[in-house]
């Protein structure tokens, strides 16, 4: 039931991007865990974020510069905007849609039918990014 709701939410809000750039409701119905979220963001196999983004992660030597620095992003964007950005911004962008399985081609067998992150993991990431306020 909850899964179905999440799905409907992604479909409607995802495709209606442009009318609004925000997805206020949690994908899981609860708040994520910021500490888990940080671990996901800096993990090069899981979140992949720092392949492209830099951010306030002094322990990580190799960060990307293809994308805006994540420092202060929690002050620039609301939680709803952060969630929308990660789920699927709907924009033509190099940033992957982390909660999408449709419209992709030649996905490697191990990843077929899977989203890059789970709903829970996305909530954790959103909760962490929201703490990046300066």
């Amino acid at each position: 039931m909850q899964l179905l709701m999440v799905f409907a939410l992604v479909c409607t809000v995802g495709s209606a991007y442009g009318a609004g750039d925000t997805m206020p409701a949690s994908l899981t119905g609860t708040r994520g865990d910021p500490a888990h979220g940080r671990a996901i963001v800096v993990n090069r196999q899981l979140g992949l974020c720092i392949l492209c983004h830099g951010g306030p992660f002094p322990e990580e030597r190799f960060q990307g510069d293809l994308a805006p620095d994540l420092k202060g992003v929690g002050a620039r964007l609301s939680e709803g905007q952060l969630r929308q950005r990660i789920v699927d911004s709907g924009k033509i962008s190099i940033m992957p849609a982390y909660f999408r399985t449709e419209g992709l081609i030649r996905v490697a067998p191990a990843f077929q039918g899977k989203t890059i992150l789970s709903a829970q993991q996305i909530e954790d990431v959103v909760a962490y990014l929201a703490t990046l306020r300066d």
Partner: protein
């Protein structure tokens, strides 16, 4: 240092230009370039008799220094009998099976890498010179389409990194323009020599895209597109990359 992505009319750059001074020095000095070990092996294979015909490459082609000069700058090249472009590795295997009556060498196996490094070396310093004719064009266009198509779980095209974002950093590594100027080459990360298709597989795996089999037509078309895109650039085989 390399600055922001440039417009298309700015000069093309080899992966060499993005490397550290230490890695460049490895490529510049034959004595320091580990890829030269493969070239040496290739020379021995060139001169060794093989197969049911008991003939060496040298028995038909003579001294590679003369007969193979410039050959690698033209591959993949259209093969009339196969009715499609074939890679240099496939050309070598066609000679093996048809002329030497020997079994084809395995893709990415040491012998095929050694022979293609040895043949490639005979064109070192020469400009890449893919010939584009009506026969070859449809394959070039197929390769171009693959290059520009978003694919894989990360939904990224080659062009998004190598055209739109070259010069920027992906997890600390500079993104190059993806010119295949030095293959087969010694890659520090591999601790060995590998083909262009092996490098392409790395990028496909990175974007979580289903890779093509070695020698698959799609791979050769992509290789053809990349070589054509680099026409006029200097061949560096055997190059070194990080």
């Amino acid at each position: 240092m390399l600055a922001l992505p440039a417009s298309a009319d700015e000069a093309r750059r080899s992966g060499y230009d993005f490397m550290s001074r230490a890695t460049r020095a490895m490529q510049d000095e034959d004595a320091a370039n580990t890829g030269m070990l493969w070239v040496k092996d290739g020379e021995a294979l060139w001169n060794g008799k093989a197969g049911g015909a008991n003939r060496a490459c040298a028995d038909c082609h003579g001294d590679a220094v003369a007969s193979m000069k410039g050959v690698a700058t033209r591959y993949p090249a259209f093969d009339a009998r196969m009715r499609r472009p074939v890679s240099l590795e496939q050309r070598i295997n066609l000679c093996r099976t048809e002329k030497q009556k020997a079994t084809p060498l395995a893709h990415e196996g040491p012998d095929l890498l050694a022979l293609s490094a040895y043949i490639g070396m005979q064109s070192r310093g020469m400009p890449i010179a893919i010939v584009m004719d009506e026969n070859t064009k449809p394959f070039l266009e197929a390769g171009r389409e693959t290059f520009n198509r978003r694919q894989g779980q990360l939904n990224l095209s080659c062009a998004q990194c190598h055209e739109d974002n070259w010069g920027r950093k992906l997890a600390g590594n500079p993104i190059t323009q993806a010119h295949p100027t030095g293959y087969p080459l010694y890659r520090l990360e591999w601790q060995g020599v590998g083909s262009l298709q092996r490098r392409l597989r790395n990028c496909l795996v990175g974007t979580r895209t289903q890779a093509y089999a070695y020698g698959a037509p799609e791979f050769v078309d992509l290789e053809l597109f990349l070589m054509w895109r680099a026409n006029g650039m200097t061949l560096e085989t055997p190059a070194v990359r990080p």
